[in-house]
């Protein structure tokens, strides 16, 4: 067994720069949660299937459990903690609340991160498109129905705001 040396890494998470000494094998999901105390990113499977740990790397969704924290030097990471700044929920968060689109809440952060990015790319998705994107996030509580309607509703609100 080789014990790799800790590496000095500087990463930007939610616009803040962190200088860390990291064993290179440490997963981004673990470093976010344990070293940066950003526990909103949840670990559900550690093999990239469940989507609970989805975060944004340079604005694009990615599995934190399939990423090593050392890789993030020079990249910007965004987590759920940065999504609503202060008191106001984003239209997506608000719609999930109103449509009862979450129950235990464990998968919720991953879903929000996925769709905050996706709705930038496609502001007017069909139900089939929403379901296609949502299929990368497992939810064991809701049956997805209310999440789908929440995303649809959020997209409409965002389009409306965009017009104003």
């Amino acid at each position: 067994m080789t014990t790799a040396e800790a590496k000095s890494v500087s990463i930007v998470v939610n616009d803040e720069t962190y200088d860390l000494m990291l064993d290179p094998r440490r997963l981004l999901s673990d470093v976010l949660r344990e070293d940066l105390h950003l526990t909103g990113t949840h670990v559900g499977c550690e093999h990239g299937v469940c989507g609970a740990c989805t975060i944004l790397i340079d604005g694009r969704p990615a599995r934190a459990c399939l990423t090593f924290a050392v890789q993030m030097e020079g990249h910007e990471v965004t987590t759920i903690e940065a999504v609503s700044d202060g008191a106001e929920l984003t239209p997506l968060q608000q719609a999930l609340h109103q449509e009862h689109g979450l129950q235990c809440g464990f998968c919720t952060a991953g879903i929000i991160m996925t769709f905050e990015a996706y709705l930038q790319e496609n502001p007017d998705p069909s139900e089939a498109e929403i379901r296609d994107v949502l299929s990368g996030n497992l939810c064991r509580c809701t049956g997805y129905q209310n999440i789908v309607s929440a995303v649809s509703k959020a997209a409409a609100v965002m389009r409306e705001r965009g017009r104003e």
Binding site: G40, C45, E46, C50, V83, H100, T108, A109, S135, T142
Partner: protein, 799 residues
Amino acid sequence: MTGDTTFSHIGKPLLRREDRRFLTGRGRYLDDIVLPGTLHVCFVRSPHAHARIIGIDAEEARALPGVIGVFTGRDLAEWTAPLRLAPPIEGLHPVEMTTLPIHKVRFHGDPVACVVAADRYIAEDAAELVSVDYEVLDAVVSADAALSQGAVLVDDSLPDNLVSHQSFSSGDVAARRAEADRTVEAKFQLHRHTHVPLETRGCMADWDAGREHLTMHIGTQVPHPLRSQLAARLRLEETAVTVISPDVGGGFGQKIALYREELTVAALSRHLRRPVRWREDRLENLTSASHARETLCRTRTSVRADGRILGLELELTEDFGAYCFYPANYMARVIAMILTGPYRISDYAFDVKVVLTNKCGNGPMRAPMAITSWVMDGTIDAVARELGLDPLEVRRINALRQQDLPFTMPTGEVLEDVTPLETLEAAAKAIDVEDFRARQAQAREQGRYLGLGICTVVESTTYGSEFYKAAGIPGSGHEAAWVRIEPSGAVNASVGLMGTGQGYETPLAQAVAEGLGVPPEVVKVHMGNTDIAPYGMGSRGGRGATAGGGTLFLCAQKAQKHVLEIAVGMLNLNDARGLRLKDGIVERMIDGAWVDTGISLADVARRAYLDPTALPEGVSPGLDISYTYDPPPMTYSNATHVCEVEVEADTGRVSIARYIVAEDCGTVLNPLVVRGQQQGAVAMGLSGALFEEVVYDESGQNLTATLADYLVATSCELPSIEIIEMNTPNKRTPAGIKGMAEGGIMGAIGSIANAVNDALEPFGVALEKLPLTPQSLRALMREKDQVTETVTEVRTGKE
């Protein structure tokens, strides 16, 4: 206990108050809680299904920097008591297990040693270095094999692998068989499932050596029963253990038992005098947490030519896995007890066998009785097929009607305030069966195979103490609550339930608000900490609303009475007649109208706490009210599920075109939350029926250890679910609450299986086995060579 069906707060679709923290990443789940100096464990698990442990060499592991120690079954046996399950039930063998196996492992994934290290990475490094010398034994990996002559014993202390066997008979099924026009046999095989909460198991044990007190942080559905177990197994007083359950990322029945890993972690914290934590990874969760179902049922039904059922016989065999964390008869018995559910059947017999095999142990999973409604309504469909009758008509002729109620089922269970015929008619009307049959006929001409499946469910929701007593299982169905009005008028409340995502905080606040007479916003319900919450039975089955909500409602009513007694003094009245608390204000009935007295709950609270000498004679200071309540022996909700599918003949793929549920679950605390539960339950049932399956190979290797192998349905496989709400209150429960949340599974399994059978009718095949994989459906279609020319044509030809 009911009567008043006009509520101010119960029944309102209030948005959930826990949402905000979950939406912003500020929920607090087990793994979010940090204690300084915490050690991490990793379990060394058996790669074999069945093997003798010859020796364990952990020297190399112990030498690894960062490793604190490696502990085995022998160590744990010194520090903990074994689990002995020996309820006095005829036909049930008593069983016992140590905290970790000492002599042999019984399934692929059985824990054999526990590594403690500075972090999980090092713990995993060390676990690889632990060398276990095994003598591999033959494994029994099916109930048939386990019951065969000379089968190896899973549990060496038992005479055979048949750990539980019970029979029952009511009426005279043999006589009914003799007088029947036809006897119809049917078979139903439900495969092995596992729960897959998105948050796996885990715990953090914190032994306070000074106070000699254990604090166990753990996501659990049952904080107090877990505390009792922990204390007993650690040989501690119940005063020396606190269980704290934070937010829980799903349970579905997997977070009830005290598992061996959790007890090990607690014992190690005490031994090492350090906080110790275990984070179960997904591989462990899928192979070693708890499995469920794997039940084979055969029915024999004696019927008249018009479809009327005269007698019903059930043979059930459950493959229970290697260990009993619950009395082995527990799940199977409920299936047998409530099987006849929605139908007027009096002559009934069952024979129930539960068998040990070399697989992960079974436990209750959302709808422990999941198979029930498939067996019953699948039997009805088999009768209809055999007699050439309309399945809907066969249901109608056998369904319980209002004039039959209360109806005593052959097993002695009493059904009251249920509406199975009404939900059946509502669902059938919603889907428009006639219109469907026309579309089905037209589609068949084009080589497309549509199917309609109906399944009526009578769901046992709240188990009262009398049920347990009758079943011979030690335990109680009661629940406990307190309501405390603080000096400021704020309302704290607590109950012994613990949510795992249902959203209890909102509906339970509504129940308190209703009983007390305050707006729900001022009520905060505290759950999950055994030092705060009263000793209750926790969350299991569908008891949350009736037992939890009901107890809180009654407790809050009692609190209101106390408040009004104080108000009597403040208003210089003789008694509380004509007074009520409404929206936190004491009101008085004057000339037939409620009038504000100008006294608020805060005024009353101030007097109760800060000016007790001014209280009326005999009224004690403070506003701290406790209440316990034992629900009726059993409460039942009912529903009818209708599912329309299309089976693609050339690939076997099943797609769901429409899904409707007509459900009567009595008074609901919060319809938003109830709908979420109904949708979620149906989704879980469909996912299980179509995709999920724990697979072991012939040697007992678990082949479904990742989420790429154990398939949970995604958003693209599940339909939107239409719900028709019906609300017949239960006359015997507080506010008429019945409970629900498991019936959706029962109905989903039954309705989709029946729908696929209906679709496959032209092929002359009927399925007996789930899951409904495309390859299994193709195999069914292929088997039947009498497939007509048109069908062959379709398979290879036009789409």
